[in-house]
Amino acid sequence: MDWIPTILNGLLLGGLYGLLGLGLALVFGIMRIANIAHGEIIVMAAFFGLMLQRLTGLNPLLLLPVVALVFFGLGYVLQIGLLNRLLGEDPLVPLLATFGLSTMLRNLMGQGFGADIHRLNSGRLPFISLHMGFANIGVLPLIILAISTASFVVLALVIGRTGFGRMVRATADNFHVVQMQGVNYSRIYALVMGIAFALTAIAGVLLGMRTTFTPYSGVEHMLLAFEVVVIGGLGSLWGPLLAGFALGVVHLVGLRLDPDSGLLYPDLLFFLVLLVRPQGFAGLRQT
């Protein structure tokens, strides 16, 4: 009985992990770009949220729309300005660029914010719990899970049911042919990158509410997001959410059994999945 709270909390955490990986999965699935700077975007969003909070005094949850919008713009500009030029036969070229970007951002933030740890002030939220019979569930983790799941649902609806989503899927299938129907694939890529940045920024702010962060926290989150993508499987939208749940549970159960293991058990789960089922939970297309 004692494990139930741990598992439940793992699922709640997993919702956030899924959202952390969603942006990465979207970009890699549509454009085959591995964004190594993903972790730095997460941290930048947390810092941005922090600065907005200091300016306005508002709860970070209320700042989410602004952060999402700003980062949508950043992602759009990055794609148009840099990454669209790097698309071609060699998938390692965009990877090199995003690696360089990641190094720059991490150290620029380090120069600007130092090595102190920070956390977003969520007022009384972290201290409120719902008292269910078998466990106490924190309200903040619940809200985070709700926002994550909502993000997945909205994205699924946009990609699956709208004209824009149709264009995105077609462009992902064949960006040459899509031009024959008048679609500017560079602009589609930019919009997708913008959406991915917005989702990632939301995850970053939520993460900053849950735990502490420094300019150097990005790497850890990027690797975790990457694991979410691989375990979830390419070509599926819901795979990352399921993978997030799995990683969340494994992380908290692992920490319970082995208190200073950090992200060891999620990392090991990643290799286990690689060994046993390389295409991930819902993998349709091959890596």
Partner: protein, 317 residues
């Protein structure tokens, strides 16, 4: 200049002069500068190995820190815990790293391109965490080199330098032999067109495997000697993500897929580091920027990046 460098004896002549210079250095430099020279040689060796992977085998490893750190901890483990002499430690660094690489390769090789690159990084993190958890290896605070107690502290910088010199000279010789031998040609064929290489009868998997294991082993030995020379090891230094940043910078600037590239790149790296002393953060920003620029101006993907070659002329394949 170009014709001079293309001369048939250019490479062996350079090699022999380098060895003579290396042998003379301990008599000329003070211990501080000798330490720097040691570091330069070791970083050069690591860059050469990273170059072997990326430029010749077409494998971009972002987790090289795994092997560098593992080599360091292998040496410390063997000398601190088993009380063996440091030369055994260096050998252990090589063997253990190569062995681990051999075991992990089948898993990692299931991944392609970007997935492989990040997979090596995840692996590095796993090793990092395991070492941090291990109290025997000093945990998160690290541990000092106990073997120094039985050695002459004044001679130690010279011994470190000598080990580094032998390793780097050996690695350089070894690399140039490999490149000219079947394995090297096979690797380049695999790098350029794996499908064509396979249909020509080259065992793609085996070529990559050998390159991966050798590169890991030598990097491990270099890491072992490096941390031996600093007399202290801790997980954050051993598995620092900046190892990858530095090696990537060196190989890009010097030219991927050339033998002389890592040498040129190492010189430029240390030169800039001296210039920007005390501005480590900005230096890292600069190195990141160079990677971005390299991606933008890369002529034909990663393997085609040979900047200096255009000015100096190709010296070696």
């Amino acid at each position: 200049m170009k014709t001079l460098l293309r001369h048939r004896f250019a490479v062996p002549a350079a090699g022999i002069s380098a060895c003579i210079v290396l042998a003379a250095l301990p008599f000329v430099l003070g211990s501080g500068d000798l330490g720097l020279a040691t570091e330069i040689l070791l970083v050069f060796t690591m860059a050469q190995m990273w170059n072997l992977l990326a430029g010749y085998a077409g494998l971009l490893s972002l987790g090289q820190a795994a092997f560098i750190g593992m080599g360091g901890y292998a040496l410390y483990g063997v000398t601190n815990l088993l009380n063996l002499p440091i030369y055994a430690g260096i050998l252990a660094a090589f063997v253990i790293t190569a062995l681990v690489a051999a075991l992990i390769a089948p898993l990692l090789f299931r991944l392609r391109d970007a997935y492989f690159a990040i997979g090596t990084w995840v692996f590095a993190e796993i090793v990092h965490i395991l070492v941090t958890k291990s109290d025997a290896l000093g945990g998160s605070s690290g541990m000092p080199l106990l073997a120094i107690r039985n050695m002459d502290i004044d001679q130690f910088p010279v011994i470190s330098f000598a080990c580094a010199a032998v390793l780097s000279a050996g690695a350089m010789l070894f690399a140039s032999l490999i490149i000219r031998a079947r394995l090297g040609l096979a690797l380049m064929a695999v790098r350029d067109n794996p499908l064509a290489a396979a249909s020509a009868g080259i065992d793609v998997w085996r070529s990559r495997f050998l390159a991966f294991v050798l590169s890991a082993g030598v990097s491990g030995a270099a890491g072992g000697i490096y941390f031996m020379s600093t007399l202290f090891i801790d997980p954050n230094a051993a598995f620092d993500v900046n190892w990858t940043v530095i090696l990537l910078f060196i190989v890009i600037v010097g030219g991927i897929g050339t033998l002389s590239g890592p040498a040129i790149g190492t010189v430029i790296y240390f030169g800039l580091r001296q210039l920007l002393l005390g501005q480590q953060g900005w230096f890292l920003v600069l190195m990141g920027g160079v990677a971005v620029l390299a991606a933008v101006f890369a002529p034909r993907g990663i393997s085609g990046m040979r900047f200096l070659e255009r000015w100096v002329g190709q010296t070696a394949p």
